[in-house]
């Protein structure tokens, strides 16, 4: 699964980092950024899904993989 965090929406509740600390880091003021590129390892999907569901402002969302991501060349 692949996720995105919209930092223009994040209000610094910090719930995501509590649920899945390996995927979200907080700054000095409690605002979150993704720690990786948004790819979630299969074993971590439950914790990251909790982070998605528990974010009070819905800043974390799940992304569908677009068809062109598989294709190479132009």
């Amino acid at each position: 699964m692949r996720i995105r965090l919209d930092r223009t929406v994040c209000d610094g509740f910090g719930v995501c980092a509590a649920r899945a600390p390996g995927y979200f880091s907080l700054d000095d003021w409690g605002y979150a950024s993704l720690s990786g590129d948004g790819e979630v390892a299969p074993g971590d999907e439950a914790a990251v899904t909790r982070a998605i569901l528990d974010c009070p402002v819905h800043a974390v969302t799940r992304l569908a993989k677009p068809p062109w991501a598989e294709e190479s060349g132009g």
Partner: protein, 453 residues
Amino acid sequence: MEITGDVTATCAVAALPGLAARLLHEDTTPGSPQSAESFDAYLAAAGYQDGPAGEAGAGQLLDAFEQSGLRGRGGAAFPFAVKARTVRRVARWTVPPVVVANGEEGEPASVKDRWLLRNRPHLVLDGLRLAAAVVGAERAYVYVSDPAAARSVAAAVHDAELAGRLPIPVEITVVEPAYVAGEETAAVRAINGGPAKPADKPPRPFEAGVAGRPTLVSNVETLANLPFVYRHGAAAYRQAGTAASPGTFLATITGGGRPPALYELPHGLPFRELLSLHGVDEGTVHGVLMGGYFSGLIGGSTAVDMTLDHEAVRAAGSGLGCGAVAILGENDCPVAVAASVMAYFARENAGQCGSCFNGTAAMSAVLDALRDGGATGDDLARLRRWSMVLRGRGACGTLDGAVNLAGSLLSHFPETVGRHLEGGRHLAGGCDRCAVSVFRATRPYEAEEVSLA
């Protein structure tokens, strides 16, 4: 070749002597009133050439753009052909794409995009229709904030459409000028009817941009390079510049005790030659601010030895960015300059990302205190840490510009920073330059308006 505007304009416009100008006017008589290049004049100078013909012609032209090695001129220096190919690929899976000419020059220390739109609107439009052809776009936009640029482009679109030289509709979107409005997702949001503020990624415009369509957003100077490649080919394009930074570029030079100037220069030009062209004694250069406000400060001794291309400036720990170079004047203390630029970031950020509005305010407070001799070692340690941990924590590049500024001040000017600290409560913190006069500016090194006529 010196091109002057009206008598009130203080910004000189010139190509490097001996360089055949590609982006600036070639035949303007020195001292004559300057005005926008007309449709007839541009057509007579072999502009708006026919084609490219069909899908095959578009593919060949995209290959030529790739071989030219053209990099984006908005600041990120991303290869144009890679961006265009990605848009084409996504469009094959979805809907026909859109092309946006980005002329919203939010950078106060740069004038080149406004100059191009005001003075050579057809060169930009010619580039825009070529970009639209290679990606297969059915619609294009010119995104601007400068009213004179908007008027110039609107007249040019009218003339080119009337003459049948624009195969697709071109709309003009005008927004209020702002530092953050020039970012590509801000352009997309504004054209879509939203605020001219950046969005977080993904999606990037190539995936979902204007009206949700795959969108190629290109800086107007980038587009202004396309007609040259179309007319003369990739090999001719590469005759100026370096292997990795081909072609010429527009450089806005401010500061250094000289009036601002807009130059067309070949990539790879020694910085020393630019100083000599601009009439600045290299011995007086103790620091430069690179890429407008974005790429941070470089110490004078490092700067004078570098060449002006993306690789060399990156090797010096900075970036050429949009080509704006501000030379710190004799009494411009780098700490005070950094404090003024950081205050600008703290004021002008989009107010969207918590890491950015908090981080720029916090770094601004430390730099103000440092300038005024009131910062402690703990303050400095916090500034150093923020300059590392805040990188990449904003939806757009503003916060990265702020950390570039803080980090480069600390790494290039440790002695000056130390004097400001150690000075403690003494007047002006023990800094020689601040003892003479303390640099303060709301928009440091803002380039003067370049006049149209």
